[in-house]
Amino acid sequence: MMRTSFAALIIASCILMRAFVKPSPLHTLEMDTLLTSEGDSQRTQYPYVTGTSVIGIKYKDGILMAADMGGSYGSTIRYKSVERIKQVGKHSLIGASGEISDFQEILKYLDELILHDNMWDDGNSLGPKEVHSYLTRVMYNRRNKFDPLWNSLVIGGVKNGHKYLGSVSMIGVNFEDDHIATGFGNHLARPLLREEWREDLSFEEGVKLLEKCMRNLLYRDRSAVNKIQIAKITEEGLTVSQPYSLKTFWIFSAFQNPTVGAEGSW
């Protein structure tokens, strides 16, 4: 009697021991380290310092691109002199919204790309189409590794008389169009562009159209700042304007007595 119960006790304790000592065969400790490489997690990140919309349009002589100079840290507008439009080689411009540090990384890749292209010194050069295609490959490959560069990019330029304007997103979605916008610009600027864009816009008309879109974004996008740059690229070359502010209008009657219809509100 005593012996069988003692035996049962030993068997029970063996079973309990096994439960604590060995993990289940379906999930080992080794598998956890395989999913993350070297400890730092390569899963989806979060953006920290972000830029808001970029807008680009084709006009008669080339491409115009506009972006504000804000770098937001969540809901704080932390940096107000971030240049979000940059030159790439002789023929292209790149504008970026999204994580600013990832944009800086992209600029490093592009710098190396253009350097090697220039080192050939053979009369051939990478144009906006090639840069756009290259960036699409980069963005898509990063997306496949679950380690995206958190940006929406606008690439524009002119080469051999051909105007080119395209966009790449953080997951590698890419396309070309006559007018491009990222982020909130898609919702607030593109409807205006669809109405008012024409093939043969002059430079002044193009700038006015972009300013109209940027003003709209300034009113309605909380991460917009009133300090914008407009960049122009043509066959001859590229200029990025000095930063300037847009005039805004706030004297709406509804703002005069805001609580007229609802006492106690603000």
Binding site: W120, D122, G123, N124, S125, L126, G127, K129, E130, H132, S133, Y134, R137, N160
Partner: protein
């Protein structure tokens, strides 16, 4: 050149500062059947002589399309040439995939030359035994390059390689000053004349030669046998009396792959083995 004690390894210099194995590799090119190339500002033409081993076999492919804008003609060890053509096609496709744009020919030939140079500096390799005439386009127009087994490359207005190429070169040297502004059809005519020079008396028909063109607005293509024969008749390039070699190899039209076992190895003998 004669055998000497410095010619066994590609990595052995001679006292005179020569690499004999590399020079021997260039000899292999001279044994192959002729290939010629010429270009204008907008077009480039490659043509080569194909002779079949026997009436029963087809002749070897010596002209390859590398991409829509680049083609190559080879002379020498055709097997080496095929391998290098595959490399070139691969490079063009990869560039096109990343940049959605054609690889400029000037950059392709440099990559090819660097690849050939590696084989001249490794003791466990041998130089490629094939010379390549690469014709194609880049931003500045049409170009013709010659890639050597030594790893050198040169740009040419017109050039000829392979056996009896000197006759073609003499012809081209007389005419080359007109080439930059030649029309596409005149360029082809000159190519056929140059090929005729290398045949040295044999009748030029479309079954002994292959002609290909690439140009601005024209993708690289190999002209069909009928087209070439029509051009030969039109320009009356047939030349002198026709000896035995009026090939009954009509079935060898297009000259596709499946070259019968053309002995790639031994480079001795008077009848050059690659002269097929």
């Amino acid at each position: 050149m004669f055998r000497n004690q410095y010619d066994t390894d590609v990595t052995t210099w001679s006292p005179a500062g020569r690499l004999f194995q590399v020079e021997y590799a260039m000899e292999a090119v001279k044994q192959g059947s002729a290939a010629i190339g010429l270009r204008s500002k907008t077009h480039a033409v490659l043509a080569c002589v194909n002779k079949a081993n026997s009436e029963l076999s087809s002749h070897q492919r010596k002209i390859f399309k590398v991409d829509d804008h680049i083609g190559v003609a080879i002379a020498g060890l055709t097997a080496d040439g095929r391998v290098l053509s595959r490399y070139m096609r691969s490079e063009c496709i990869n560039y096109g995939y990343t940049y959605e744009s054609p690889l400029p020919i000037g950059r392709l030939v440099v990559q090819l030359a660097d690849k050939a140079q590696v084989c001249t500096q490794r003791s466990w390799k041998r130089p490629y035994g094939v010379g390549l005439l690469v014709a194609g386009l880049d931003e500045s127009g049409a170009h013709l390059y010659y890639n050597c087994p030594s790893g050198n490359y040169f740009e040419y207005q017109a050039f000829a390689i392979g056996s009896r190429s000197q006759a073609a070169k003499t012809y081209l040297e007389r005419k080359f000053e007109n080439f930059p502004d030649s029309s596409r059809d005149d360029l082809i005519k000159d190519a056929l004349f140059a090929i005729r020079e290398t045949l040295q008396g044999e009748k030029l028909t479309s079954s002994v030669c292959t002609v290909s063109v690439v140009g601005v607005g024209e993708a690289f293509n190999i002209l069909g046998q009928k087209t070439v024969q029509a051009l030969i008749n039109e320009f009356e390039i047939s030349g002198e009396e026709a000896p035995a070699t009026v090939s009954a190899a009509e079935e060898a039209a297009g000259g596709d792959a499946a070259a019968a076992d053309q002995g790639g190895a031994a480079a001795e003998e008077e009848a050059a083995p690659m002269d097929i």
